[in-house]
């Protein structure tokens, strides 16, 4: 039963990634694109954790933690660049 639930959740997050990609292609404003990129990072974290449960190893949690940190920092850097024209003042 867990296998089917894992497949369902992975399918949901895969479709969600495609929707985020569609928003990146379409998005009229750069804030939309930053938001879609941030959502893609969060979806990829979910996919990594799902893959870790599927394989039964805890190795992938460190990768998920690192991707969460890098995704947050990159989002803040994009926004700061738009806000101030400079990332580190």
């Amino acid at each position: 039963m867990i296998e089917y639930a894992l497949l369902f959740a992975a399918g949901c997050y895969g479709i969600a990634l495609l929707m985020d990609l569609w928003r990146i292609v379409l998005g009229p404003d750069s804030a939309d694109r930053i938001l879609a990129l941030d959502t893609m990072v969060i979806n990829v974290i979910a996919l990594l954790v799902l893959y870790g449960v599927w394989r039964g190893t805890e190795v992938y949690f460190e990768a998920a933690m690192l991707i969460a940190m890098v995704g947050f920092v990159s989002t803040v850097a994009y926004c700061r660049y738009i806000l101030r024209g400079d990332i580190i003042e």
Binding site: I2, A16, M19, L35, M65, A68, I82
Partner: protein, 124 residues
């Protein structure tokens, strides 16, 4: 693994998958940038929280000891989601509104997207 635990994990996974899908569907469905901020920052964060809860239950049932990694990821995501939403809203405001379109700031200092932070040399 007992049936009840499997059922619990499966329910958490299905609910979190639906929440993640709803978050990204809202991202393409809603019609304004500020409206679009709502869907991913709330629904997707909750969806990832559900995945991590399912993973915690799974590894607790499998190995018998509580793994703290998932809790760390959950806390980190729940802490950073409002900050990124605030930053994206500020970036949108800074690009798309003029200072005279906004109501006056109630404090001693102006809006943070136009003025320098209090305490810096260029403030005021």
């Amino acid at each position: 693994m007992p049936f009840v635990v499997e059922l619990l994990i499966a329910i958490a996974l299905v609910i979190s998958g639906i929440f993640g899908l709803v978050g990204s569907f809202g991202l393409i469905k809603l019609k304004d940038t500020v409206q679009r901020l709502h869907a991913p920052t709330k629904a997707t964060t909750l969806g990832v929280g559900g995945v991590l809860v399912a993973s915690m239950i799974y590894f607790f049932a499998k190995t018998g000891n509580v793994s703290i990694h998932e809790l760390m990821i959950t806390v980190f995501l729940f802490l950073t989601a409002p900050i990124t939403a605030n930053f994206i809203a500020k970036a949108y405001l800074a690009k798309n509104t003029k200072p005279d379109e906004l109501p006056g700031a109630s404090g001693d200092f102006g809006w943070s997207i136009y003025d320098d932070p209090p305490g810096s040399d260029k403030a005021g």
